[in-house]
Amino acid sequence: MKKQRTHSRRIFLRGAAGVAIAMPWLEFTSTSKAAPGDSAARRFVAVYTPGGTVVDNGQGQNRWIPTGSETDFTLSPILAPLEPIRHKLLVLNGLRMTSAIGEQHQSGICALLTGTPQGNNGFAQGPSIDQVIASIVSGNSAIPSLQLAVRWGTGKSHGLLHPINSLNFENNGASSPIPPRLDPQAIFMSLFSSLEPDDNSELLAQLERKKSILDLVDRQFTGLSGKLSAGDKHKIDQHLEKIRELEMSLENMVVPSEVCKLPQWVDTSGYNPGTGINADDNGQVKDQSTDEQIPQVGRFMMDMLVMALACDVTNVGSLQWTDTEAKHTFPWLGLAQHHHYYQHDGGFRPVECEQIYTWYSEQHAYLLQAMDAVDMGGHTLLDESVVFFGSELSQPSSHSKNDVPFLLGGGGGGMRGGRFLGHFDLSLPARSHNNLLVSILNLFGDNRQTFGAPDHCTGPLGGLT
């Protein structure tokens, strides 16, 4: 398997004739930094965690909400792990997912990034904001966006793409659900193999063959497209677009730099990314070996996501921590049942739920701090990004979509962290989270005033900068 290397290696450049040239190692600075004064955000990351948070622990306590005022507040027990990065964090309370209409869990994940109710096919009726943002910021990156998921496809979905586990939706008119990448080893190989200098000649020859094949296939799809009826042409064109994206990513070879380094490789051999196929509806089929490795797979995925951004592989990413079924166990927390059991299948268990949500906060703190450790020259990767964190509901025992826990991390687009936004004017109608989605888009220089279902959006939320 691949091993991490440090600085003594050769890298390859494309010469003018497109021929690979082996060069001694040179120091590079990353080419894609935000120039000082450039106001729009440059990177977007969406993180999904299942099951909301503990809004009511059965003793009248809200274990998630901070206490205090906008700038002078104490983080809650569940959010406490985020203390080290709180100055770059916005905590948002009081938003409702009014556009989450449909089945109680599915509608939540469906609307989370799209602001639309479930459509007739169970999926969203509009694109997710990460896809919209990708069309704004993907200019210089190898792939428009990257979707990763850990321990995904549990429970009723049986490992299939399903309204119960779909977070991202294409900006292609049909809002097609996007299947996330599940296999950490495959992701590592496909994103970072060009950073690994061993066996380069064979790798390059393989790459050339791949490009020649894609070139031919591209021409075949193009030729076919011209001969079809409108509906069929649309399908072929969609396929062709993806082939072209792949061709582009092969042209944009990732080169190491001060900030772009091979992520620490992790042995995930006990982890079966496709284990969802064997799932039963109620989470009674357990996969101990895979569940045990969730923490290290999660770290690996986050490391790869951060490096994918730092290496300009992409500017837009999303990470799903399982799905709304969340039917896997937590051996490292000593929890032998699955998450949904503690949500309500076994009766609501606030103590165990809090354990789980706190652990997710720890993972999120890791991600934000890892992004903050990448020096883009005068500012960090986190500073030029917007990191969104949300769930499909707030209180798991009631499936409420009120006061859904949202976090925004980073400083992209002038976002100002270190604040708790929860004191909305109660005399006004409750704010729809669609308004938050609009404000996020505004941070990227997109000045639209509505997003998602129009009757669930009253304009930008504001207050982020």
């Binding site: 556009s99 894609l214 509906g231 792949l246």
Partner: protein, 602 residues
């Protein structure tokens, strides 16, 4: 308990009374409700998920003006008829969307083409829900991940196919003889002849001008820097990513009567993927070269051959694996203390019981759906016989046994079928009833929404001795009852089967009341009566033909397919609901035999 809301205003009540049409924000009313499958008011406890129920509610069949078309972004609006206006003349084929090979089909095809039996397409990302069979042409979006997997899987298949000289010899006899010393001219001739033969089979049609040349050019380009084997592998990789391989392109021809039909090769492909889930065989290719497949009789003759071939059993199994809840039986987890005789092996045997039974009914017995539903026999092996309590069967081979028809009758009372929807140690009449009503009668039941949804919670296990008691709220609360009256009563009639499919007379010491009803209006006194009444309902047969139609055409039939549905239904009924006759009749429908006129499908 709940806020004051007028019952009549609640959308879910209206929708249940209206026959299942919840409004959505885009204001399009569509009878195809994927959510209907995901079912059920019992909070997060639900039945089957991956399949999509077709919808044919009682009120809809009266012909509402809601005949919306497919979910395709281009909005194919061939529907909209109100139930009496459309001409159903000959040669009218309404929808024929481009179809892409599914995982199932890709696996079978590379096996036929290259002998690769590793099922490499299982690595493709999840297929969408669609019609429940994974082949819904309107739910075949292309993701970046899928395209990457097409590349990776093709690399793997090609590498395996060219790994050794013996492998190369299987591709082409001359290829197995190529060595380092082989004259380049001889080698090139071999490569070209391989391409001409292999690619025509892979594209499932004769090559057009330039197609062999462009692949030969690729082979030559690669050969300049790599071995002969690598250059051959590259050709295979390219072919497996080509649109002519991955998609079933149908350009059509005009027949002697001026109507558009699939060409001989295109019809061969339609037939082989319908009956075998794979590419045409040599005999089909030979038939494609003549005019045989341009006539209805020619199509029927090949259809009969394909159906009679053992390869059709794979497709029949695949169909029932997706229609019935029998594919996960070996991973059903049950409490060993409560159910000491159940095991993964028993679960697997139950799957085989149902599949063997259906195979017998369809290929060895009368072949009617009625027989499947009301047979007085089943198939068991030794362990399963012991499990159920049948005498005289030993060993691993499955044999026919007679049922005690006071307790069981037909397919839907088989252990695997009644246990397969249950995923806890307690039975759930809602999921059982829902599966029967939605899958066997095609009656869609919408999910609760809004305020009702917020209130929904599963019953506590100790809230009643029997399931009927535990789910009492569904019948007492009028808001719940509006929808639950459609499915719970069918599930109650199955309560004599416990969570592992075994018969019981009591639950927690209380005698089980297995009376119930079907949403068709028929009351039933127990499970056997339920099956008789199910088999007597005409909806049962139009629903079954709908599923086969969805599977065969790779779509979800809707209001716009009225003519097609009529053709299939009348053929099925006239044959006495003979399943083989249904499959053959599908190949004789206009939708199968003809193509839409240009402009009809945009």
């Amino acid at each position: 308990m709940r806020g004051e809301v007028s019952i009549a205003e609640l959308p879910e009540v209206r929708s249940c009374l209206d026959g299942g049409k919840p409004t959505r924000y885009d204001a399009r009313v569509n009878t195809r409700i994927a959510l209907g499958v995901l079912v059920l008011a019992t909070a997060c406890y639900s039945g089957r998920t991956a399949d999509q129920a077709a919808t044919e509610t009682d009120s809809h069949s009266q012909g509402d003006a809601s005949g919306d078309a497919s979910g395709d972004a281009t909005g194919d609006e061939t529907g909209g008829e109100t139930g009496d206006a459309l001409e159903c003349g000959p040669g009218l084929a309404e929808n024929s969307p481009l179809r892409r090979l599914t995982k199932f089909e890709y696996n079978n095809t590379v096996q036929a083409l290259l002998g690769d039996d590793t099922s490499p397409a299982n690595a493709f990302p999840s297929e969408e829900l669609g019609n429940g069979f994974g082949n819904d042409a309107d739910a075949q979006a292309v993701s970046s991940l899928l395209v990457e997997k097409y590349v990776a899987v093709a690399e793997g298949v090609a590498a395996r196919a060219t790994a050794t000289p013996e492998d190369l010899a299987r591709l082409a006899a001359c290829a197995g003889e190529v060595t380092e010393g082989t004259d380049r001219g001889v080698e090139d001739a071999c490569a070209l002849s391989f391409i001409e033969d292999f690619v025509a089979r892979a594209y499932r049609r004769p090559l057009e001008e330039g197609e062999a040349e462009e692949l030969f050019a690729l082979q030559q380009l690669v050969r300049a820097d790599a071995t002969f084997a690598t250059s051959m592998a590259t050709v295979i990789e390219a072919v497996l990513q080509s649109p002519s391989f991955l998609y079933r392109v149908e350009r059509g021809v005009v027949d002697g009567k001026g109507r558009r039909r699939p060409s001989g090769y295109e019809m061969a492909t339609r037939l082989s993927y319908f009956f075998w889930g794979s590419m045409p065989d040599e005999e089909l290719f030979a038939a494609a070269q003549t005019d045989e497949l341009l006539t209805n009789e020619g199509v029927l003759a090949q259809a009969e051959r394909l159906l009679a071939d053992p390869r059709s059993r794979t497709v029949v199994r695949f169909f029932f694996d997706h229609l019935l809840p029998i594919s996960g039986l070996s991973s059903l987890e049950r409490d060993e203390m409560l159910y000491p005789t159940f095991s993964a092996a028993i679960g697997a045997s139950m799957t085989e019981e149902t599949q063997r039974f259906l195979e017998h009914v369809i290929f060895e017995s009368s072949g009617t759906w009625n027989e499947a539903l009301t047979a007085d026999y089943t198939f068991v092996n030794g362990p399963l016989a012991q499990y159920y309590g049948y005498e005289g069967v030993e060993g691993e081979e499955f044999q026919q046994v007679s049922l005690d028809t006071t307790q069981r009758l037909g397919l839907m009372t088989q252990g695997g079928v009644v246990a397969g929807t249950i995923h806890s140690n307690l039975t759930n009449p809602v999921v059982r009833g829902s599966h029967l009503v939605q899958k066997l009668l095609c009656i869609a039941i919408p999910l609760p929404t809004g305020d009702v949804l917020d209130q929904v919670k599963p019953p506590e296990p100790d809230s009643g001795a029997t399931a009927r008691e535990r789910y009492i709220q569904h019948s007492e609360d009028p808001v719940c009852a509006s929808c639950h009256k459609l499915m719970d009563p069918a599930g109650f009639a199955l309560e004599n089967y416990d969570a592992v499919g075994l018969w019981r007379d009591t639950e927690n010491g209380q005698l089980i009341d297995a009376s119930g009803s079907l949403p068709t209006g028929a009351s039933v006194s127990g499970p056997v009566d339920l099956m008789r009444k199910l088999a007597a309902a005409p909806e049962t047969y139009t629903c079954f033909s709908r599923h086969w139609g969805n599977f065969a055409y790779g779509r979800t039939l809707d209001g716009g397919d009225k003519c097609l549905k009529e053709q299939i239904d009348s053929a099925f009924i006239e044959s006495g609901n003979d399943i083989q006759a249904l499959l053959l009749a599908i190949t004789q429908t206009d939708a199968f035999l003809y193509l839409p006129e240009p402009g009809a499908d945009q």
